[in-house]
């Protein structure tokens, strides 16, 4: 890549970022908060969910990814994941939360929030945010923390595409720029809405997030987290090019033991991710848990049996990959589908992702080190579209909640909400639109981010460092001594 091309693009990117931040800052304003009832069980549930999602990233994802790289890059892999967790946490508290979860302004409003809550200004100890139940609140700081863990894991997922060859300084910059330009906007598009009280009282929804306005369903982040990370990783893999020796030398995972531990912790933590996304400890959270069990188990098995048939042996990496593919696919559907529907969704996801990680990948020859495209983007797309199907009450799904029909008594959510009429075909089309929007924003945004980083510090380590391993080269340490 040419440095000059980089410079130009970076300048443009910087400009865009600046504008975006400024316009957000200038006009952002939030509607008066409704009085919200509060149940300690919800705060307890959200705190533990938040801790679980942290555990998904460190040590979960660090081990899942780390186990798959070669021993000489192990330390670098887990350092990158831990550093990303730290950096995104700080960035989120400083401006990320505000960009994602406050109202933006002007034409950009459906795409990104403002800076009214930058530095958590206005987020008091007693502040609450509304859940999906009319008039029910949880404390805002736990929502801030919970959502932070999503931003962190998404960023960490993305780097799997270009593992074993990227400069640490590039990763540091990536952890600042990518969430800002890509993740926070997409989170805003999907999850920023007026809340049940807003809907019930008929406030204007034209500043709500773009995908939300479309009517797209994404319970826990299929588009925001998985398709997004998958595309970002894929674009990075293409831009950085293949690893030295790719296709010629054997590059077996250095420890499938650790990969299995990582996959297991991802599964355990994913209950915080999916059931926690309900923001309340009620029957929808329970539904999300049940779906997160059955779809995951089904996808693990469908990948394993498919591989057994096609390749002759059932492998651990296959089973573990299937488990993750199932988790990815069920994410957007978890609070909406019924268990038998998501079981089928999981079966499909396992097979489709297997196909992409083996046949498609070797046919095209790209070097997406840890298959973030084949598992997260593909699994995410299967899940996003499938959500449109399994949510159908006719298939045992929960339907789409009509927030003007939820009852609350004594501050507690009293029963199942009313449901809107459901049209599967039109919902699947809406889902497809949301997927396309994510593909486009993430693809272009990530590309810009890599250009900027390329200009500022360069993306790739020297061939010598790559041969010797990033552990010694970038960190002066080895993961193992003896």
């Amino acid at each position: 890549m040419k440095r000059t091309a980089y410079t130009l693009a970076a300048a443009l990117g910087g400009l865009a970022l600046g504008t975006l931040l400024l316009t957000g800052a200038a006009y952002a304003q939030t509607p008066p908060a409704p009085t919200l009832s509060f149940n300690k069980a919800d705060d307890a549930w959200m705190m533990i969910s938040t801790a679980l999602v942290l555990m998904m990233t460190v040590p979960g994802l660090a081990l899942f990814y780390g186990g798959m790289v070669r021993g000489k890059n192990m330390l670098s892999m887990i350092t990158q994941v831990l550093a990303i967790q730290c950096i995104v946490c700080v960035v989120w508290f400083l401006w990320g939360y505000s960009l994602a979860f406050t109202e933006g302004s002007g034409l950009l409003a459906p795409f990104v929030g403002g800076l009214s809550k930058a530095f958590l200004s206005g987020v008091e100890i007693a502040s609450k945010v509304e859940t999906f139940s009319l008039g029910v609140g949880i404390h805002e700081l736990v929502f801030v923390c919970f959502q932070m863990t999503f931003a962190a894991i998404t960023t960490a997922l993305a780097i799997g595409g270009f593992a074993e060859r990227t400069k640490f300084s590039a990763i540091v910059l990536f952890a600042i720029l990518w969430p800002t330009l890509v993740y926070f906007p997409i989170a805003h598009m999907v999850w920023f809405w007026p809340g049940p009280s807003g809907i019930a009282t008929g406030v204007a929804t034209d500043t709500a997030g773009f995908s939300w306005q479309l009517g797209a369903l994404d319970f826990a982040g299929g588009t925001v987290v998985h398709i997004n990370a998958g595309i970002a990783g894929f674009v990075g893999a293409l831009l950085l090019g293949r690893r030295v020796g790719f296709g010629k030398e054997a590059m077996p995972p250095h420890s499938l033991t650790l990969t299995m531990v990582g996959a297991s912790l991802l599964w355990v933590g994913w209950f915080g991710f999916n059931a926690g996304s309900n923001l309340e400890a009620n029957e929808y959270a329970v539904l999300a848990m049940a779906n997160t069990f059955i779809a995951t188990a089904a996808a693990g098995l469908s990948w394993m049996f498919t591989e057994w048939l096609v390749k002759g042996k059932p492998s651990l990496l296959g089973l573990a990959s299937g488990v993750v593919a199932g988790l990815v696919a069920v994410t957007p559907a978890s609070g909406f589908g019924g268990p038998m529907g998501t079981l089928v969704l999981g079966l499909v996801a396992g097979i489709v992702c297997f196909f992409f990680c083996t046949a498609v990948k070797s046919a095209l020859g790209y070097d997406d080190t840890l298959d973030v495209f084949g598992v997260h983007a593909v699994g995410g797309i299967v899940g996003a579209l499938g959500t449109g199907i399994v949510v159908d009450p006719a298939l045992g799904g929960a339907g789409i909640v009509d927030y003007t029909k939820c009852e609350v008594a004594n501050g507690a959510f009293t029963g199942v909400c009313g449901a809107l009429d459901y049209n599967m075909v039109s919902q699947v089309i809406i889902q497809a639109k949301a997927v396309l929007m994510t593909l486009a924003w993430s693809g272009i945004g990530s590309f810009i981010v890599y250009l900027i980083i390329g200009v500022l510090v360069g993306l790739r380590v020297s061939e010598e460092t790559e041969r010797e391993g990033l552990d010694i080269g970038a960190h002066g340490e080895r993961a193992y001594n003896q």
Binding site: A250, P253, K313, S315, L317, G318, T358
Partner: protein, 112 residues
């Protein structure tokens, strides 16, 4: 003195060591190695990437013995390490000029 260097199947180590002790050998040095030969390796597949693993794990035993004992040592190793299947390994004999025991400074056959 001779250095008898034998490449054997790993699970035979304890038997070979015992047998050598029985014929009076008091020391040896063992190294984990990878062998390439007639015995085929296997294929490993990691998410579609197939690797032909051509090397198989073996152990290399090095024993320095007085020249007079070489035949007995070879015989002993041969008989104990043999399973009759491909990959049982080889024995090579090399000449040794000197031996020294570091602790005492003893040399040659005294050092073994």
């Amino acid at each position: 003195m001779k250095l008898v260097m034998a490449v054997i199947k790993p699970f035979k180590l304890d038997e070979v060591r015992q047998a050598l002790t029985d014929i009076g050998i008091q020391g040896m040095t063992v190294t984990e190695v990878k062998g390439y030969g007639r015995q085929k390796g296997h294929t490993e597949i990691y998410r579609g990437a197939e690797y032909e693993v051509t090397f198989v794990p073996k152990l290399k035993i090095e024993v320095v013995v007085p020249s007079a004992s070489v035949d007995k040592v070879i015989e002993t190793i041969s008989s104990v390490a043999k399973t009759g299947q491909i990959g049982d390994g080889k024995i090579f004999v090399l000449g040794i000029d000197q031996s020294i025991r570091i602790r005492t400074g003893e040399t040659d056959e005294d050092a073994l």
